[in-house]
Point group: C3
Chain length 139, copies 3
């Protein structure tokens, strides 16, 4: 069984945002799957997807600060600067973090660890609504 | 055909550890699959999975040193510090490296390159036994 | 339906190279798939795969410069130096960027965003021809 759907996420401000519930709410078919994988793919090159700790709000805050420090704006070596100082860093963060996730599904639920949640990493100051493609392969 | 199983890995000390054989030993069903994918997912946010060179022990050692330098402990900008100085760096490394791998299966074997092996990246000083979910989709 | 094929990519010089068309040309079976996933896996530990912006040539150039700065050659802490100054950085970049991609297929086409393309990231000065395994799971 393959189920696939495009989902438009609500607009987020720059930073790391827990979206587990938003994804599940917009993809109720997942409950029908006994065993399989959920693949989530973001159709953009200036935002990314990760899994990280889902309780302490300090974690997404520190992730944002760390990536801003190690992928700086206005680096002297950037040539791609026409779309704003947040643009080239967004592309680099996207390649470091990645644009897709695959998560096991077991008995109709995401088989995440207790402390794991899905995060949208919005790397632009005004990224707008982001589109993801969710694909389930399962039985 | 979908096969899925949770596997508990033996406890590892902090660093990068080759686990290809440990995973295969605990997942013998893989030999039944002619063509497909093995997905391995770690249910934690302070350890990660990667593929890298499987012979020289200097490679995992240098990876550990590199990530310790570029994801430092006790950075002045961390707010998430209650769980120890190795905790927030572990979360950041997990997002950089990633919590899952997908590997092609061909004729009952992982279709890895000659020098490729699966590594558990243990980012905590005392991470304990780690749980992974292995899912095969194949025929 | 599972389709799997090894593809040899033409040799590339060090840097980030758009390969979407080369992959599709060598994997025409993708057009038969209505719904599913394409998995692309590179069988090497000194090159990697990413998705990033497919128009401005400044983006792959800036990615190459950024990774060369933050994963330096000849770092004092490297022990794995016998295979050349570009070797250990190549292994580190491979772990940061990753050796595989999964991309949704919809109606016989890769369901990428408008600005997304597949890149081979060649981290060696002379990496030679690289082999990837393409696997489609779909219907």
């Amino acid at each position: 069984m393959i189920i696939q759907r495009e989902i438009t996420l609500s607009e987020k401000k720059r930073g790391f945002h827990l979206i587990t519930d938003e994804v599940l709410r917009k993809f109720p078919e997942l409950g029908q799957v006994n065993k399989g994988l959920l693949h989530v793919f973001i159709k953009h090159t200036s935002a990314s997807l990760t899994i990280n700790e889902n309780v302490s709000l300090d974690v997404p805050g520190d992730l944002e600060k760390h990536f801003n420090k190690f992928v700086p704006e206005n680096a002297a070596y950037y040539d791609h600067t026409l779309e704003g100082s947040d643009d080239m860093p967004a592309h680099i963060k996207s390649t470091i973090i990645g644009c897709s996730l695959s998560i096991p599904i077991t008995s109709g639920k995401l088989n995440l660890g207790t402390w794991q949640g899905i995060f949208l990493c919005e790397h632009r100051n005004r990224g707008g609504a982001r589109i993801i493609v969710a694909t389930v392969i399962g039985e």
